[in-house]
C-alpha cells in the first residue's frame, strides 16, 4: 500500500534529474546574510536592543527566535550550549535579571528591557575567574563540559541567594541542569568550595 498519492517521479529519476539545480548553485553568500534576508518561519526581523553581559547589543531578531539562538548565532556567544532546545537539560542556562532561565525557552523579544548574563559575562573585567569557576576547576568538576556553562550560571544564582547552601539545597537548586556524564557530586563540591565550606 502506498501512503501518498504524490508519486511524480521515481527516486532514481529524481536524483538524476533535479538535484543541485542551477538556480541553487548561484544563490546565497553565507548563512548570516541569508538569515537576515529570509526567515523560513520566524516572521520579519526587527532591530532590537539587548543588554548582554553589561553591554548594549543591537541585533535583528525575528519575533519567534529564542534567546539561545540569538546569543549563539547572532552574537557569537557560543559558550551558551544548546543540549535539547526544549527546556529539558539546562545547558543553555543564562541569568535574566539574576534569575536562571533556559535560553532555549525564552523569546529574545521578551527580554529587551532586562539584563542578561551569559557564561561569557561571568569572568571579572580583569579576566579573573568567578569563585564558582575557580571552584569547579579545583574540583575537576566538568567532564565533557557541555553542561558546564549552565551549571556555572545556576550555581551563581544559587550562591547569590543562599551564600552557604547545604549540599542538599545545592542539589535541589541545580536539579534543572542535567549532566549526562554524571559529575553531579563534583559540581556540588564546587558549590561548597566556592561558598567557603570546604577548602
Amino acid at each position: 500500500m502506498n501512503d501518498s498519492v504524490n508519486l511524480q517521479l521515481t527516486r532514481r529519476r529524481f536524483i538524476k534529474g533535479v538535484i543541485f539545480s542551477g538556480a541553487a548553485a548561484t544563490s546565497g553568500a553565507g548563512a548570516y546574510l541569508a538569515a537576515n534576508a529570509q526567515s523560513g518561519n520566524g516572521g520579519a526581523e526587527r532591530l532590537i536592543s539587548l543588554t548582554i553581559n553589561g553591554r548594549t547589543r543591537r541585533v535583528d531578531v525575528p519575533p519567534t527566535e529564542t534567546l539561545a539562538n540569538t546569543l549563539r548565532y547572532r552574537l557569537n556567544l557560543t559558550g551558551t550550549k544548546i543540549g535539547c532546545n526544549r527546556g529539558e537539560c539546562g545547558a543553555c542556562t543564562v541569568l535574566i535579571d539574576g534569575v536562571p532561565n533556559y535560553a532555549c525557552s525564552v523569546l529574545t523579544h521578551n527580554i529587551k528591557a532586562k539584563d542578561v548574563i551569559s557564561i561569557e559575562g561571568v569572568k571579572a573585567a580583569d579576566g579573573s575567574l568567578h569563585p564558582i569557576q575557580q571552584a569547579f576547576i579545583a574540583e575537576n568538576a566538568p567532564q565533557c563540559g557541555f553542561c558546564t556553562p549552565g551549571q556555572v550560571m545556576s550555581a551563581m544564582a544559587l550562591l547569590s541567594n543562599n551564600p552557604r547552601p547545604t549540599k542538599a539545597e545545592a542539589a535541589q537548586a541545580m536539579s534543572g541542569n542535567l549532566c549526562r556524564c554524571g559529575a553531579y557530586e563534583h559540581y556540588l563540591n564546587g558549590v561548597l568550595r566556592a561558598s567557603g565550606q570546604i577548602a
Partner: protein, 811 residues
C-alpha cells in the same frame, strides 16, 4: 619516585569548559557556510517508492539534495548514512537538504513528499524469532555467518541476513524461564564439562532475564562541519576519538588520509556512540565537496535519539550451579540480543562478564542477535558487560543464599586474581586484585555493621547490595610521539580524543614522568590532525590509560636514549655513561658535564637523521610517519611503537556496595550510601579517577532503575525520544555523598602501573543497586534492567504485568 603519576593536576582544557571558551564542533563557523538538515523516516519499516522534491528545489536558498545514491552503497545490516530503497526504523535519515540557512532547509524538507510502501515491523526480538514473526529486514532478521568452498578448497567466509525462527516450544520455554531447547544460535562456546559441573553443585538457580536498551543521550547532539581547501578536507566533528578516525573518515570521503584534517577539540559526551566515524559524517564531507561550500549538519535532540545509537537489549536465561563451598561449578547461559537495526549485539561480552565476575569451573554460552525495527545499536559504556552485571547480581545473591553464604563472601570465593581468566577462551589477564577490592570495600562501606541495622521503618525498607563490574581495559601496539624543542619544553603529541575523561592528559603525564619534566614545561598537542598526532587507539573501551601511558612512555624512552647518545657524541664516553634530571642530560660520574634539554634539541636538529625525525622506526603507523615527517627538523624527536612485551587482557574491575531505602507505598528508591573500590592498577590522576567513578555510578543507577527504550508495539513508534521522558539521572536521583577508593596495586605490564576503569564503574553500581533492591524485597528477583518504579509497585500489588514474558522495548 613518581613525580606525576598518582598526583592531581588540572587538564589544560578544564578552564575553557568553565568559561565557555572551549569550542565544540557546532561552535565553529566558516565564511560562506551553508546548512544541511535531514529528512527522516516516519515509518518503522517500509520501502521508498518515490520522492517528489520539485517544490523544495524551487525555493530560494535551497542549494541541493543529497541521497544514498550520492554515497557509497552500504549493504544490510550496515548502517547507511541515508536509507536506500528500504527504511527500517523511525527516524532513519532518507535525504539531506542543503540551504543557505537552517530555517530554509527545514522549510524545504516540509515541501518534500515521499511515497512509502509499508512493510511489517517488529520491536521485540523474541517476537521476530517466533513462528510467523515479522522480520526487520526484507531479507530476514539475523546475520548468519556463511562459509563456502572456494578455489582449491579455500573457504570463502561471509555473512548474510537470514530468516531465523525458533520452534514455539523454545519461545515458550525462554519466556517461562527455561532452557529454549531447539532454538538456533549464531554464537556458541563452552569450556569444561557443564553437565558434570551441575552434577557436583550443592544448589542450582535457574532464571530468565531481560535488559532493555536505551540511547546514549550525549548532551551534545552530534554536529559535523566540513570544508575543502587546497585539496584537503577540513572536518569539524563531534567525536570521542581523534587519530583513530583518520582512516575511516578518509574512506568515507574517498580521499587519502593525508588529505584529511580532522578537528575535534572537545566533545559533549559520547559514551561509546562517537567512538569512530559515524555514518552521517559522510553526508557533511561529501555534500560540502559537491557544493564547494563549508557545510554544517547538526541534528536535533530527537534525531540524536534516532541515529545516535543505543545499547543492545537482552532476553535470556541462565542456570548457575554452586558447590557447598561457594565455588561456581557450572554456568549455562543463553542470550537473545536486540540488535536494533544494526549492531552485532554484545552477548559475548555479557558472557565474558560472567566469566570474570564468578570464574566458573565449567560454562556453556549460546547467543543470537535479532534485528528489530528500532534505532541502531552500538557500543555504550561497557556494552554487554554492564547490563549483564545488573541482572546477574541478584541471581548470584540467590545462589549464595541457597548455600547459606554471605553475598560478599560468595563473590570473594569466586573472585578473579592474577592467575584467573576471562572469556570463553579462558584467556589470561595482566593482573587482578578483586579480593583486595572486596575487603577494602566491605570495610569502607561497613557491610557487616549495616547488616545488623533494622531493615523496616514504617513503609520503608532498607536493602544492601554488592556488585562487580568488569571491562577489558587496555590495548597494545599504538605509537607515542614526543618532541623536545629548542626552548627546552616537552611537546607531547596525543592522538587520543577528548570526550571528557581527560585520559588524553593523564596519559601524557607518563612522558613527563619518564623525562622528569616539570608539568608546566610540558605542552600537549592534540585536537586536530595538523597538530601532527601519532596513531592512537579509539577513545573508548576503558583502554586509554593502559594503552597510552605505555605509548607515551616508550616515546619518552626513545627521547631519553637519543639525549644520552647526543651527550656521548658531544661530551665523550658512551650513552650508558649518562643520565637525565632537572631538564638536563649529564654524565653520571660528573653531573656538571652535560647538556640542557634545549641544547640537546638544538644538537638533534644539527645532527638530523633519527634525532630530529628525518628517520624513524619502520614499525610505526603511517599516521605517525606523516606526523614525524612534518615535525622533522624541529627538535629532538622521541617516537616509538608500543612493543612492551607481555600478554593478557588488562582488566578494569570495580566492586560496588549500595544501601537503598525502598518505599513500599510508592515504589520510590532512595540511595542512602554507595561505596566503590576499583582494581585498576595505579591510579594515574586521583581527582579525575574520583569523577570517573562517580559519573559511572550515576550511569549505573540509570541503567538499573530508570532508563529504557519505549516503543508503541502497535505502530512501532518511539515514545521517549527526548531527555525528559528517557529519564537519565538528575542531581535528585542519585547519591551525592559517595565514597570511592582503589586497591592501587600497579599492573606489572604497564611501566606506570595503570589500567582503565571508565566502563565497569557503571556495571558495579548497577549490580549493587539491583542487588540492594532484591535484598529489600526479601530476595525477590525482577530479573530486569531497569527495574523501574512501576515494576516495583506492580510487584508489591501482586501484579506481574510489568515484568512477565521477557517483555522489552515497551511499558
Amino acid at each position: 619516585m613518581s613525580t606525576h603519576i598518582g598526583f592531581d593536576f588540572t587538564p589544560p582544557d578544564v578552564p575553557g569548559k568553565v568559561t565557555g571558551e572551549i569550542k565544540y564542533a557546532e561552535d565553529y563557523r566558516r565564511e560562506g557556510m551553508v546548512f544541511a538538515r535531514l529528512l527522516t523516516s516516519p515509518l518503522p519499516s517500509g520501502r521508498v517508492v518515490g520522492i517528489d522534491a520539485s517544490e523544495a528545489l524551487r525555493m530560494d536558498g535551497v542549494l541541493g539534495i543529497f541521497t544514498a545514491d550520492d554515497l557509497p552503497p552500504v549493504a544490510p545490516p550496515g548502517n547507511p548514512a541515508l536509507a536506500s530503497e528500504y527504511v527500517t526504523y523511525v527516524g532513519q535519515p532518507i535525504l539531506a537538504v542543503a540551504a543557505i540557512s537552517e530555517e530554509i532547509a527545514e522549510s524545504a524538507i516540509e515541501k518534500i513528499r515521499i511515497d512509502f510502501e509499508r512493510r511489517p515491523f517488529v520491536v521485540d526480538p523474541i517476537e521476530s524469532l517466533s513462528p510467523g514473526g515479522a522480520n526487520a529486514y526484507p531479507e530476514g532478521n539475523v546475520l548468519v555467518r556463511t562459509e563456502e568452498e572456494g578455489p582449491e578448497g579455500a573457504p570463502i567466509r561471509g555473512a548474510e541476513i537470514r530468516d531465523v525462527k525458533w520452534p514455539r516450544s523454545a519461545i515458550d520455554a525462554l519466556k517461562s524461564g527455561k532452557e529454549p531447547v531447539g532454538g538456533e544460535f549464531t554464537t556458541e562456546w563452552a569450556f569444561g564439562d557443564v553437565d558434570a559441573g551441575f552434577a557436583e553443585a550443592a544448589a542450582i538457580v535457574e532464571e530468565p532475564f531481560v535488559t532493555i536498551g536505551y540511547p546514549h543521550h550525549s548532551l551534545e547532539s552530534r554536529t559535523c562541519m566540513a570544508y575543502w581547501e587546497n585539496g584537503k578536507c577540513f572536518f569539524h566533528g563531534s567525536s570521542q576519538s581523534q587519530s583513530a578516525n583518520d582512516n575511516g573518515l578518509a574512506r568515507m570521503l574517498n580521499i587519502d588520509p593525508a588529505d584529511l584534517v580532522f578537528i575535534n577539540e572537545a566533545t559533549g559526551g559520547g559514551f561509546g556512540s562517537k567512538i569512530g566515524p559515524y555514518p552521517f559524517m559522510a553526508i557533511s564531507g561529501n555534500f560540502a565537496k559537491v557544493l564547494n561550500r563549508p557545510l554544517q549538519l547538526r541534528i536535533t535532540r530527537e534525531q540524536e535519539f534516532y541515529i545516535g545509537s543505543a545499547r543492545s537489549g537482552m532476553q535470556g536465561w541462565i542456570k548457575m550451579g554452586v558447590k557447598a563451598d561457594g565455588k561456581v561449578s557450572a554456568v549455562d547461559l543463553v542470550i537473545v540480543n536486540d540488535g536494533g537495526m544494526t549492531g552485532g549485539g554484545s552477548h559475548n561480552s555479557s558472557a565474558q562478564h560472567v566469566t570474570v565476575a564468578y570464574q566458573p569451573e565449567n560454562m556453556r554460552f549460546r547467543g543470537i542477535t535479532v534485528y528489530t525495527n528500532t534505532t541502531p545499536r552500538g557500543a555504550q559504556r561497557g556494552p554487554g558487560q554492564n547490563e549483564m552485571a545488573a541482572v546477574l547480581a541478584p541471581i548470584a545473591d540467590k545462589a549464595a543464599k541457597a548455600i547459606g553464604m554471605d553475598r560478599v563472601a560468595f563473590r570473594r570465593v569466586n573472585a578473579i586474581d592474577s592467575d584467573g581468566f576471562q572469556g570463553g577462551s579462558q584467556a589470561p589477564v595482566t593482573s587482578a586484585f578483586v579480593r583486595e577490592a572486596l575487603d577494602q570495600g566491605m570495610r569502607t562501606f561497613g557491610w557487616n555493621e549495616k547488616q545488623a541495622l533494622a531493615k523496616q521503618n514504617g513503609s520503608k525498607v532498607r536493602g544492601l547490595g554488592v556488585g562487580i563490574g568488569f571491562h577489558g581495559a587496555g590495548g597494545r601496539g599504538y605509537d607515542g610521539l614526543v618532541r623536545i624543542g629548542t626552548d627546552g619544553k616537552l611537546y607531547i603529541h596525543s592522538g587520543v580524543g577528548n570526550l571528557g575523561t581527560y585520559s588524553y592528559a593523564g596519559t601524557c603525564r607518563a612522558a613527563a614522568e619518564a623525562l622528569q619534566m616539570p608539568w608546566d614545561r610540558c605542552e600537549i598537542l592534540r585536537g586536530r590532525t595538523d597538530n601532527n598526532l601519532p596513531h592512537s587507539s579509539g577513545q573508548g573501551g576503558s583502554n586509554t590509560i593502559f594503552t597510552h601511558t605505555r605509548t607515551n612512555w616508550v616515546a619518552a624512552q626513545d627521547a631519553i636514549t637519543k639525549l644520552k647518545e647526543i651527550a656521548a657524541q658531544d661530551l665523550g664516553g658512551n650513552a650508558n655513561d649518562y643520565e637525565i634530571g632537572d631538564e638536563r642530560v649529564f654524565a653520571s660520574a660528573d653531573p656538571s658535564k652535560g647538556l640542557s634539554y634545549a641544547q640537546a634539541a638544538a644538537r638533534a636538529i644539527e645532527l638530523g637523521g633519527k634525532y630530529s625525525g628525518q628517520e624513524y622506526p619502520d614499525d610505526i603507523n603511517p599516521i605517525t610517519q606523516r606526523s614525524v615527517q612534518a615535525l622533522a627538523g624541529s627538535g629532538l624527536i622521541g617516537v616509538a611503537k608500543d612493543n612492551i612485551p607481555g600478554q593478557g587482557t588488562p582488566p578494569g574491575i570495580l566492586v560496588g556496595f549500595c544501601e537503598i531505602e525502598l518505599d513500599k507505598d510508592t515504589g520510590k528508591v532512595e540511595i542512602l550510601d554507595y561505596t566503590a573500590v576499583a582494581d585498576c592498577g595505579t591510579v594515574v590522576h586521583p581527582k579525575n579517577f574520583d569523577n570517573a567513578m562517580r559519573g559511572g555510578a550515576v550511569w549505573g543507577f540509570g541503567m538499573a532503575g530508570l532508563e529504557r527504550h519505549v516503543y508503541d508495539p502497535q505502530n512501532g513508534l518511539p515514545a521517549n525520544t527526548g531527555i525528559y521522558q528517557s529519564k537519565p539521572p538528575t542531581y535528585l536521583d542519585v547519591n551525592v555523598n559517595t565514597k570511592m577508593g582503589a586497591v592501587n596495586i600497579p599492573d606489572p605490564q604497564n611501566p606506570t602501573g595503570g589500567r582503565g576503569i571508565g566502563e565497569p564503574t557503571q556495571g558495579a553500581a548497577a549490580a549493587a543497586y539491583a542487588s540492594a533492591i532484591s535484598d529489600a524485597l526479601d530476595g525477590h528477583l525482577f530479573n530486569t534492567a531497569p527495574t523501574t518504579t512501576d515494576m516495583i509497585i506492580n510487584h508489591l500489588a501482586g501484579n506481574d504485568y510489568s515484568t512477565k514474558s521477557l517483555k522489552t522495548n515497551t511499558f
